[in-house]
């Protein structure tokens, strides 16, 4: 009896210390994340310009955002960009990681080269790409003109802006490469050897060994890429200001404009909550379907 009591005392104590040690993180989360999140939910039911006092208007902000064409245009742009960027960056970075996993001389230099873009702040790389994309004096068009190829207006044309930003995003996806690379180095060698003994070629090994073992990492990268793409802001803010003709009016940019340019804080908060729900649904769908295609070693494989 006394033994048990002593044990629970120790347990209680370790709980206390445990919570104490993680308390800065929890307090920080409540103060700087949870608090503002709940506050934004509250102001989304109000009309508020940050200067005058709030006016409760119920669901009017939400009704207005479903009515406003801009919301749908912004969602279209954001989904288009996500649908283009996520598969492109997931697949391309995977193959780059495979190449960087080989034992070539100077492989570290190549790995560094591919990782460098993701250390560069997005603001800086946006400014640099603005020069590259410049229709009259930019690097890309100058290159094309040398070979007498047709030239483009890239981020400055309606049709070109989203694909151009996608290309830029793939260029900057070095962090995905690093994560894939770490995963590839963890693929057990004996699996390849066993497959080789069975007479498997490169493609069979790739499809039956590499891809299944890597699937949790692909899952992680895809989830993060979708969340990031849905929240794209900086590139459009710096490079295009949502133009031309709202062709790059990303949803986050719309929120920013409504909040800080037109001082409709309540409306912007309502917009943010819609984005939050959309991302939550997308992530949930991904998690539910993941059971079908993600292979975890310790679970004994696909069911």
């Amino acid at each position: 009896m006394s033994n048990r009591k002593a044990k629970s005392n120790i347990e209680r104590k370790s709980f206390f210390w445990g919570y104490l040690f993680i308390s800065p993180a929890i307090i920080g989360l409540i103060l700087f994340s949870l608090g503002p999140i709940l506050f934004s939910l509250f102001i989304s039911f109000n009309e508020w310009d940050m200067v005058s006092s709030m006016k409760f208007i119920g669901l009017d902000n939400y009704k207005e955002l479903f009515r406003d064409n801009q919301t749908w245009d912004a969602l279209k742009v954001t989904f288009y960009y996500t649908a283009l960027t996520v598969p492109l960056s997931t697949i391309l970075t995977f193959f780059i990681a495979m190449l960087l996993n080989s034992k070539t001389k100077g492989i570290r230099i190549f790995r560094t080269i591919f990782y460098i873009p993701s250390i560069v702040p997005l603001v800086v790389s946006s400014a640099v790409w603005l020069y590259i994309f410049n229709p009259m004096f930019g690097m890309l068009n100058n290159l094309l003109s040398i070979f007498n190829l047709p030239q483009f207006n890239y981020v400055f044309s309606k049709a070109g802006v989203i694909p151009s930003l996608s290309i830029m995003a793939v260029w900057g996806a070095g962090n995905m490469v690093v994560i894939y690379l770490a995963g590839l180095q963890g693929v057990p060698k004996q699996l390849y050897e066993a497959a080789e003994i069975d007479g498997a070629g490169f493609w069979v090994k790739f499809m039956n060994v590499t891809v299944p073992i890597m699937s949790p990492i692909v899952f992680y990268n895809v989830t993060m890429a979708i969340i990031n793409s849905m929240q794209t802001f900086t590139q459009a803010f710096i490079m295009t200001e949502g133009g031309p003709d709202n062709a790059s009016l990303f949803y986050s940019l719309l929120i920013y404009r409504k909040a800080f340019k037109y001082q409709s804080m309540g409306y912007a908060a309502a917009l943010s909550w819609l984005l939050f729900l959309i991302i939550a649904v997308l992530t949930a769908v991904l998690f539910i379907t993941s059971k079908k295609w993600v292979y975890y070693e310790n679970q004994g494989g696909k069911q």
């Binding site: 994309f133 229709p135 009259m136 981020v155 133009g243 031309p244 003709d245």
Partner: protein, 455 residues
């Protein structure tokens, strides 16, 4: 052991708390500073304008040793966001610069102080002192006076004109170029990689080396051009849209046709991508002319480039729009007397003229004071420090009964014009719709946003 742990932890927590708490210690300067009245001053000035502003403040502090102006320069893009946040936190600066279409709004919202009683006390009658367009007043009060005025001019490269054999437009604001003369000159100045102009057979619009001009697609340039054809974005009373009138539509179409039909301006896409620094392109001979604000002048002066200046081309008759952003005084200011003294000094263009000659900084904008233009002695002083050509052109514009920019008196202007109308016009610049198609239906769409006019 335990004690050490607790002490360490509580120390850690204390440091975290310290890190979070606001540090207000930077004001603890020397003893002499403590008697000084500190005025918080916020503006978005940069470049040449900032140089002038800093000189003005330096001079003011020399004249008033008891006052210290705490200067804060925030880039325009973030300025109003920052100010909004400060107001929400009840930390409105004593004196702050403010966008022309927000002056009256913020006045009536109770953020700014009514300046009428202060002007009365100081014996200055604003209406007799400043140009009409410089005064922001509603029934409830006087909310600000433009720091200086701005208008729009045609900048051109004189060498390129001489080479192409084009006669300079006159400096007289009453007799500007017609739109046709402007287009004609622009076509002569546009040259492709084979040296051909749009007037020659075999001109290749896809490999233009030099453009004659660019489409003036900025909201403010359009405001000015609309006045030359009796057009507007919004009607004077703010009750209906002016942009759907045929006169306004004609202006919009003519602007778009510079590129779409006349081929003397880059396409909208190329303009967005390659024409971000037009003064430099004009000086390099990559661009023949462009329409822009008077405040662009220091860009040329600082490079000692002799730029050509003229009144904007007219579609029907000579006209131009004039306005200027203003400073406001916070209603919550703790030093209103001192703040107003500084306000008065700042809003007196003749002080800027004095400072300009004393410190050798250039002025880009136009006088907001009637005396600078009408008083012979003050006028001489001004033209001495101001660009000669600009003094002639701009002085003439000011004396020719300019139109007050509609952005200063239409309620809800940003929401109607910037958010409502301008995005529709992008389809015209891109050549997807013609101007009348683009604006049709706008009156229904924007009806709820039209809330009348100030004054």
């Amino acid at each position: 052991m335990k004690k050490i742990l607790i002490v360490t932890l509580s120390l850690c927590l204390a440091f975290i708390m310290l890190g979070c708490s606001k540090t207000d210690n930077k004001d603890n300067g020397s003893a002499a500073n403590e008697d000084k009245v500190k005025l918080q001053f916020y503006t978005w000035w940069s470049g040449g304008e900032k140089d002038l502003g800093e000189a003005l403040i330096k001079e003011y502090e020399l004249l008033n040793p008891n006052v210290e102006i705490v200067q804060n320069y925030i880039p325009y893009g973030e300025y109003h966001t920052k100010l909004n946040a400060m107001i929400a936190a009840k930390e409105t600066p004593d004196i702050y610069f403010i966008n022309e279409f927000l002056v009256n709004e913020w006045g009536e919202k109770g953020i700014a102080e009514d300046l009428n009683p202060y002007y009365e006390k100081s014996g200055i009658v604003p209406k007799d002192t400043y140009f009409d367009t410089a005064i922001y007043e509603t029934e409830k009060g006087l909310w600000g006076v433009s720091f200086s005025l701005g208008t729009y001019t045609l900048y051109y490269n004189k060498d390129m004109f001489r080479e192409a054999g084009i006669e300079f437009p006159t400096t007289s604001a009453a007799n500007p170029w017609t739109w046709e003369e402007y287009v004609d000159a622009a076509r002569k100045l546009t040259v492709d990689s084979n040296g051909k102009t749009p007037n020659d057979e075999g001109f290749n619009a896809n490999s233009v080396r030099t453009y004659g001009t660019v489409m003036p697609t900025n909201m403010n340039y359009i405001t000015a051009l609309l006045t030359t054809n009796n057009g507007s974005f919004v009607s004077m009373d703010g009750q209906s849209l002016g942009i759907i009138k045929p006169e306004s539509i004609e202006v919009i179409q003519k602007i778009a046709d510079l590129s779409l039909v006349e081929q003397c301006a880059p396409s909208y896409e190329v303009m967005l991508g390659s024409f971000s620094d037009m003064p430099v392109m004009l000086m390099n001979g990559q661009l023949g002319m462009f329409i822009d604000g008077t405040w662009m002048l220091p860009n040329f002066q600082n490079e000692n480039f002799e730029v050509g200046l003229a009144q904007i081309p007219m579609i029907d008759y000579a006209s131009n729009a004039v306005w200027g952003s203003a400073f406001q005084m916070s209603r919550d200011s703790k030093h209103k007397e001192e703040a107003f003294e500084f306000y008065k000094y700042l809003s007196d263009y003749n002080n800027a003229v004095d400072v300009s000659s004393k410190y050798g900084v250039s002025i880009g904008n136009l006088p907001n004071m009637i005396s600078t233009v009408e008083d012979t002695e003050l006028n001489n002083k001004w033209t001495e420090v101001f660009n000669k050509d600009m003094a002639i052109v701009a002085g003439d514009i000011l004396n020719n009964d300019p139109v007050i920019g509609e952005c200063t008196f239409i309620k809800n202007y940003a929401s109607i014009v910037e958010e409502g109308i301008m995005p529709k016009l992008e389809k015209v610049w891109l050549g997807e719709l013609d101007a009348s198609q683009a604006v049709s239906g706008l009156d229904n769409e924007l009806q709820t946003k039209l809330q009348g006019a100030w004054q």
